[in-house]
């Protein structure tokens, strides 16, 4: 009997469509897998259990009745806890929202349900999506399936771990500065941040409104495309969502599987984030991927983006500023935690302050205070105002680069998965994990992270980031799928098939040089 959890979503969807497998079977297989490994991985904060099976049953019934169903109908999906789900708690990884049940579904969740996918549960994340390691979750960290002593990336470590541990074939994530792409890199999975405005943010608990995007997390590029097709598109509830009619990302991925798909494609390597100073194995796999692209007919062009040097600084002003305002609503009045002050008069002001002190973790407090500072009277121009100008310069750098190339590439992260605790002492050190992914959020352009191998020195996954001009998301899928095909042909298998067998309670890193 095929292990259903090992199948890409596209394959599973095909079996469901042909009736070879029922959604109940597929869902049960994943729930069993979660039972087997999630005590170790801790990708999930909430597992839908019986609810998921009931949903699966309903899909099976509809299929049996001959209803027309979408391509992913019956496929299980994990949902990052940053998204509002009316039937499952939505905590955004924070104590201040422990047990909170929203009275509505996020638009993307509604679209998932309408397309017949089966929500498996909510995945773990850094609190309010602030972080690069999921160590800042108020509910304990998620562990990297490749090495349980290491971080799975962040803020969407839960979703990335869920797919790379085969607990779910698909997941939804959110990306503000790399929270989908960086976890993809360190877990050997695929993740996409769409063009800003390409996917609705309604119901996604906001971090930085001008940077956040919801996107697909998966094990293959085609799977990501299929999920992207379900969730993407204009939403009148989100005033920043684009009215474009998008082409099918799944089709774009399939187009990448055609011979010659890479011929003549101009691939830009951004000098400032091309791997100098990064972990050796990361740089090595990155350079090998470039060589592979070139052999397939792509033209590698070096481009410069001098403003990228200021990207992290600008980001860590814009994000905290917007977040400090977005998180003001967590005040004990309408929902969430309420804590009375330990002593002294019980006024609403003091209840708010006591609640927020008790309910927010240290990273959240850090960024709220920093953001309040950046916006405050007398400091606005120097900080927030200046950061918004850097944003303009970064957009200009992207525009200039895209005049010369079709797509930009960089490593998705400077290192492979680091160990727990390694970067907690110094916030700036943690922030630098996002140095390659942040520019895309600032400019609003789409980015994809996909696995390109294991670093020889530690046998841990390395990811490559592709970036395209705004609205050219499809290009990412075509080029990403083409590269993925080349790599898997070279390896003879997928990267994740090499991940340690978690249920065997024995962990080992892949042999050096195996991939």
């Amino acid at each position: 009997m095929t292990d259903l959890t090992r199948l890409p979503a596209a394959t599973l969807a095909g079996l469901l469509a042909s009736g070879d497998v029922s959604s109940v079977e597929a869902t049960r297989a994943h729930l069993d897998r979660i039972d087997a490994v999630d005590a170790d991985v801790h990708a999930f904060l909430h597992v839908a259990g019986d609810k998921a099976l009931a949903t699966a049953e309903a899909i099976d019934a509809r299929r049996a009745a001959g209803d027309a169903l979408g391509p992913l109908a019956g496929v299980p999906v994990a949902i990052k806890d940053v998204l509002a789900t009316a039937d499952m708690p939505s905590t955004s990884g924070s104590k201040i929202l422990e047990g909170y049940l929203p009275p509505y579904d996020a638009t993307v969740v509604a679209r998932l349900r309408a397309a017949g996918l089966v929500p498996l549960g909510k995945t773990n994340m850094d609190e309010f999506a602030m972080g690069s390691s999921t160590e800042h979750s108020a509910y304990g960290p998620t562990r990297n399936p490749w090495d349980l002593e290491r971080i799975p990336g962040g803020s969407g470590g839960g979703s990335a771990a869920a797919v790379s541990a085969f607990e779910a074939p698909l997941a939804l994530g959110s990306d503000t500065g790399g929270s989908i792409r960086q976890p993809a890199a360190v877990t050997g999975s695929v993740g996409v941040k769409p063009t800003y405005g390409g996917v609705s943010r309604y119901g996604a608990i906001s971090l930085a409104s001008s940077l956040d995007q919801v996107g697909p997390v998966s094990r293959t590029v085609l799977d990501a495309g299929l999920l992207h097709d379900v969730i993407g598109g204009h939403d009148p509830f989100d005033s920043t969502s684009l009215t474009d009619t998008w082409p099918s990302m799944a089709d774009a991925a399939r187009a990448g599987l055609v011979d010659g798909a890479l011929r003549g494609v101009r691939v830009g390597v951004i000098k400032e984030i091309s791997g100098d100073g990064y972990q050796a194995g990361v740089k090595q796999r990155f350079d090998e991927s470039l060589a592979m692209l070139e052999s397939a007919g792509a033209e590698i062009v070096e481009v410069s983006a001098p403003s990228f040097e200021y990207a992290v600084a600008a980001y860590y002003l814009i994000l905290p500023a917007e977040a400090s305002s977005n998180l003001a609503r967590f005040d004990s009045v309408r929902f969430g935690l309420r804590v009375d002050p330990a002593d002294g008069p019980v006024t609403v002001e003091r209840v708010m302050a006591a609640t927020r002190d008790a309910g927010f973790g240290p990273e959240v407090k850090r960024r709220i205070i920093l953001g309040t500072y950046a916006l405050s009277a007398g400091y606005y121009d120097a900080y927030y105002g200046s950061a918004q100008k850097v944003r303009t310069l970064i957009q200009r750098d992207f525009s200039a680069a895209f005049e010369k190339v079709d797509v930009l590439v960089s490593p998705s992260a400077p290192t492979t998965a680091f160990k727990f605790g390694e970067k907690l002492a110094d916030p700036m050190a943690m922030y630098l994990n996002d140095v390659t992914t942040i520019p895309a959020n600032l400019a609003g352009v789409p980015g994809m992270g996909l696995p390109i191998g294991l670093a020889p020195e530690d046998g841990l996954p390395v990811g490559l980031q592709l970036m395209a001009p705004a609205r050219a998301d499809a290009r990412l899928y075509t080029i990403g799928a083409a590269l993925e095909r080349l790599l898997e042909e070279k390896w003879g298998h997928s990267l994740l098939s090499q991940a340690p067998d978690l249920s065997a309670s024995e962990m080992f890193a892949s042999e050096e040089g195996a991939v």
């Binding site: 009275p103 004990s332 929902f335 002190d357």
Partner: protein, 98 residues
């Protein structure tokens, strides 16, 4: 640029309605000092002739027709209320009038 002082952090915490402990104020002061020093570099390139970008993609005139949409029911609105009285949210006495 200017250093962040503990006094400033305490003031910011008040603006942000977070009741920080003394230890928290102290550790935040030194952390933020480092961060602010690092991010202040944005001023190096933020010249007066560079326009600010507040929205990544330029959209304008996104409107909604003035037609009523279904609201939440009262129960839905109040379902997560930490404290309520009948159909209203209940809060502790307010010190400061706005």
């Amino acid at each position: 640029m200017s250093e962040i002082t503990a006094q400033q952090v305490a003031h910011l915490a008040n603006l942000a309605r977070i009741d920080l402990s003394q230890e928290e104020i102290e550790s935040l002061t030194s952390e933020l000092g480092q961060i602010v020093e690092a991010v202040a570099k944005v001023q190096e390139v933020a010249g007066p002739d560079v326009p600010a970008t507040s929205h990544p993609l330029p959209l304008t005139n996104v409107f909604r027709e003035d037609e009523v949409r279904p609201s939440l029911t009262v129960e839905q609105a109040l379902a997560a209320a930490p404290d309520r009285l009948d159909d209203k949210f209940k809060v502790a006495p307010i010190l400061d009038e706005e």
